[in-house]
């Protein structure tokens, strides 16, 4: 290491303490983002330390990437520069919890599972059923913008994050929103931080609205031989008087990835529905769902017991993680469309994969979010070329049916050939202005986000 770098390292260590600093290459290997290894990693213990670190980075023009449990670092494009990893996992506390108000305020590095345990003591929860759940942190979950099957009933994080504290690219500790459930004071800057993969600021504290845990949750699986029937059933369930918590459609390969260990009849297409509430709500849902499924030509209809429901819900939550684990070079695309266009969109995605002879699996949320995984059985140059071609085609087929596509996960080589965010859209100019206001020196995760931001 050069002597200026050494001097820098000692200043970083001064801020967080030697025990929470590393420039040991072996340790730094665990902080690699898309092949780029930083020169140092720091684990701040307070929001003030985070601000100090970013201030130092601003002064020295160091590029920083904030991170939590490092479960989704493959999101986005490779960083243009990357000097310092800010590991947020020591900021892992519940700051305040007012169960009677159904609000909670936490440090950004708190693991989802730890927060869930606190909330469960008061029969409450956050509807963030996201992949890598057992390890993921609040900050990483929000920054990555991953969604949850529960969004059918509860919406996404933007609907229940009440306020936030964060450090902007000039090292200033700022905040927006508040701790109460209704608030229109000032701009909702915290919404910009969601899904921004750390390119606008480092979240240090997040305030949430919490929700009561339902008395009972049950799931049902309906099997179909035709995609049209499965998607129509999903659409009709969402339009009915029932209040489903999740509505997910998957193909046979998707079902296999879920490897449920549930002895269910295999169908070409399956629709998983869950409902929650009192016994009568669940009972009525069971009856009406079965009638609707049969009316939509379902070949099979299974009611799951409590344990099977929870197995299925966990598997659905983890789908992208399971696919990536089973097929190391898998490419996973997130394609959004209108609910009425899902059958058609899924069919065209499957055609793209089939034409290149690639295996695939699909899981589609009723709200119009399709997770489409390309699953290469082996790794060679031909396969990589085909993967790249498929990914390109998926990204290009966006304008039709209001579709928007991004590649959520892919082997690093592919990112040299494609932009995982797809073609920049017309609002990129507005996004650049936001980036400039938050991170004027372009030191926060530079180059990783949409349009090279």
């Amino acid at each position: 290491m050069s002597s200026p770098a050494k001097a820098m390292a000692s200043r970083v260590a001064d801020i967080v303490g030697a025990a929470n600093f590393t420039d040991d290459p072996r340790e730094l290997a665990t902080y690699v983002v898309d092949g780029v290894q930083p020169n140092a990693a720091a684990r701040p213990g307070t929001a003030a330390e985070v601000a100090e670190l970013v201030k130092l980075a601003t002064a020295e023009k160091l590029a920083v990437i904030p991170m939590g449990a490092r479960t989704k670092l493959g999101l986005g494009m490779p960083p243009a520069r990357y000097d310092l990893a800010i590991d947020m996992t020591r900021l892992d506390k519940v700051i305040s919890y007012d169960p009677g108000d159904l609000t909670v305020s936490v440090e950004a590095g708190i693991p989802l599972a730890k927060l869930a345990a606190t909330l469960a003591e008061h029969k409450q929860f956050l509807p963030l059923a996201v992949p890598f759940y057992e390890r993921a942190t609040i900050g990483g979950t929000l920054a990555s913008g991953v969604d949850s099957p529960l969004r059918q009933a509860y919406g996404t994080a933007r609907d229940f994050v009440l306020g936030m504290e964060f450090v902007t690219g000039d090292g200033a500790p700022a905040k927006s929103g508040g701790r109460v459930v209704k608030n229109v004071s000032g701009y909702d800057l915290h919404k910009l931080m969601l899904g921004a993969i750390g390119s606008l600021g480092v979240m240090t504290r997040v305030n949430f609205k919490t929700f009561p845990l339902p008395a009972q949750t049950r799931a049902w699986l309906a099997g179909f031989s035709r995609a049209e029937d499965a998607f129509l059933f999903a659409l009709n369930v969402r339009k009915s008087a029932l209040a489903p918590q999740t509505v997910e459609v998957f193909d046979q390969q998707g079902m296999e990835i879920l490897s449920l260990g549930l002895s269910l009849a295999q169908s070409e297409w399956s629709v998983a529905i869950s409902a929650a509430g009192n016994e009568r709500v669940v009972e009525r849902s069971a009856g009406e769902l079965e009638a609707m499924a049969r009316g939509a030509n379902a070949a099979a209809f299974d009611a799951l017991d409590g344990a099977a429901t929870s197995t299925l819900m966990t598997a659905i939550r983890e789908f992208p993680a399971l696919a990536a684990k089973k097929f190391t070079d898998s490419v996973i695309a997130k394609v959004t469309t209108l609910p009425t266009h899902m059958a058609e969109t899924v069919q065209s995605l499957r055609n793209i994969a089939a034409e290149r002879g690639l295996a695939f699996a699909t899981i589609a949320r009723g709200v119009g979010v399709i997770c489409f995984a390309l699953l290469p059985a082996e790794r060679d140059a031909t396969v990589m070329t085909r993967l790249a071609q498929c990914a390109k085609e998926i990204l290009d087929a966006t304008e039709k049916n209001h579709n928007r596509s991004t590649i959520w996960c892919s082997p690093l080589e592919l990112k040299r050939e494609i932009n995982v965010w797809g073609e920049a859209s017309g609002d990129l100019g507005l996004m650049q202005r936001v980036k400039q206001a938050f991170d004027p020196h372009n030191i926060l995760a530079p180059g990783r986000f949409v349009g090279g931001l």
């Binding site: 108000d101 029969k123 905040k175 109460v180 229109v184 800057l189 910009l192 969601l194 509430g277």
Partner: protein, 486 residues
């Protein structure tokens, strides 16, 4: 105003789309707040292109521009604080698309909230935000102010229902963000622009999410002899994890004022009533209604009435939604606050508001969204007495300061506008405000779009301008009809 600018506006919009006579300007100098500010002209574009041309002209002449829907806002958001051109969206009032299958609608900003609701009701859908002014207020105004309403307790406020916007930027270019499908890649610009109080862009088209109308609705009226009983009920309903569709409270003074006018059936001798609505699946509604009744009784409700039919339900809601008109009959002026507190702090906060009122010699009525802790204390005063006005403002500030002490905020749904800008430093640090200013300047660099809003201007409260009140009985319809408390 420069005659040249007026001429140019008239030339491309037509003479009937530009107002500049003094008697016209008078009608646009107020909104639903206590503020006044007179514009120099009002224009009525019909297309986004018209709006863009207006903005470019205003830029050329360096004149402020302020967007305006129906002018029902409660914080001065649609007032031309520094003069200039008011862009009224009254003629951009078309519903462009209703996509019932996907539960979406695309509308122009001037569409009236209840007109959209009427248009989608036959498909079993509704646009959930329901400010009390919904018979007049527009979707564009709802978007700018991130409007709330009684039923946002369960359904969420406007920002939770907006998927896409077409906007004319302050520099005159047209921009589109979001769309009919969810999760557009990139920053959540819709999340930023909704609720930006007309300071970042003029919205020319809105894509909204529609919600299914519930299959069952039950409306309960719980009647109390003690205010504490009502507030404690709300605390317990929340703590039990029951989320009603709406949970509104009227204290004794307010319900008597309302009853005298609306005859909704509120008992005159009670100290407070709760108007609670549950909706959803029949089975859930029945259980929630039963649980809520139990909680009400446990906390001393002397009676819990359930509306027997739609007519009874409508009457109860008429009492709630017309409350402000009723108050207007009793006092020459009133000042409504919009603070929010954690629901667990309701009982002590209501007691403190009463104490502050007594200390300052004011009657303070309370009618508010109890379920989400969004208070609307109404301070009655006479604006013709300058001392009284000053005291009313300082009383309001004392209430807001208490809300902040409780962990709350200065505005839950009315917006900051030109009324609460001076309170912003109580919530936000210089650093927070500087970042918000940088964001504003990033889009509104010349500061011509809706200047003097949200950010503290450094003016003391003594400089808050207030609408001069006519003598009673002079028929100031502006006050009676223009102010609907959300």
């Amino acid at each position: 105003m420069e005659r040249h600018l007026l001429n140019e506006l008239e030339r491309f919009l037509g003479k009937d789309a530009v107002l500049s006579q003094p008697e016209d300007l008078l009608l646009y100098e107020y909104d639903g707040s206590v503020e006044i500010a007179r514009p120099q002209c009002i224009v009525f574009p019909r297309t986004a292109d018209d709006v863009a041309r207006i903005v470019r002209l205003a830029n050329r002449y360096k004149v402020p521009i302020v967007g305006r829907g129906a002018g029902t806002g409660l914080s001065g958001g649609a007032l031309a604080r520094e003069g200039g051109v008011i862009v009224s969206f009254a003629r951009m009032n078309q519903i462009l698309e209703i996509d019932a299958e996907n539960q979406r609608a695309v509308v122009q900003p001037g569409v009236v909230n209840s007109d959209l609701n009427a248009a989608v009701a036959s498909a079993g859908l509704h646009f959930a935000p329901d400010p009390s002014s919904q018979k007049a207020c527009t979707i564009g105004g709802n978007v700018s102010e991130n409007a709330g309403g009684p039923h946002t307790l369960a359904y969420g406020v406007t920002t939770n229902h907006i998927l896409g916007l077409e906007m004319v930027m302050p520099t005159g270019e047209l921009a589109r963000i979001g769309g009919k499908a969810v999760d557009a890649p990139g920053y959540d610009l819709c999340g930023l622009f909704v609720g930006s109080e007309g300071t970042l862009a003029l919205v020319t088209e809105v894509t909204v999410r529609l919600a299914r109308l519930p299959e069952a609705v039950k409306t309960l009226l719980a009647i109390y002899d003690r205010v504490d009983g009502a507030t404690e009920t709300v605390v317990e309903i929340t703590a039990r994890g029951i989320t009603p569709a709406a949970c509104e409270m009227l204290d004794g003074w307010t319900l008597r004022a309302v009853e005298a006018w609306v005859h909704a059936g509120f008992p005159l001798d009670s100290a407070a009533v709760l108007l609670i609505e549950v909706d959803g699946m029949r089975e859930a509604v029945e259980q929630h209604a039963k649980d809520i009744s139990e909680v009400c009784t446990m906390h001393g409700a002397r009676e819990v009435r359930v509306a027997r039919d739609a007519a009874e339900r409508d009457l109860l809601w008429k009492g709630r939604k017309n409350a402000f008109g009723a108050v207007g009959r009793l006092s020459p002026t009133y000042y409504v606050q919009d603070g929010v507190i954690p629901r667990t702090k309701l009982p002590q906060t209501l007691r403190e508001i009463e104490r502050i009122g007594k200390e300052n010699g004011f009657v303070i009525g309370n009618i508010f969204h109890a379920g989400d802790g969004n208070l609307h204390p109404i301070i009655l005063f006479d604006a013709r007495d300058a001392k009284q006005f000053e005291r009313a403002v300082s009383t309001a500030d004392a209430i807001i300061r208490f809300c902040i002490e409780m962990g709350g905020t200065i505005t839950g749904e009315h917006g900051v506008g030109m009324e609460k800008d001076r309170l912003m430093p109580l919530l936000f640090s210089e650093v927070d405000l500087a970042l918000m200013r940088r964001v504003r300047d990033a889009f509104n660099p010349a500061g011509l779009l809706n200047p003097g809003k949200i950010f503290p201007t450094g003016k003391g409260c003594g400089e808050v301008r207030i609408r001069p009140m006519p003598q009673r009985g002079a028929g100031n319809s502006a006050l009676a009809s223009g102010r609907d408390f959300a």
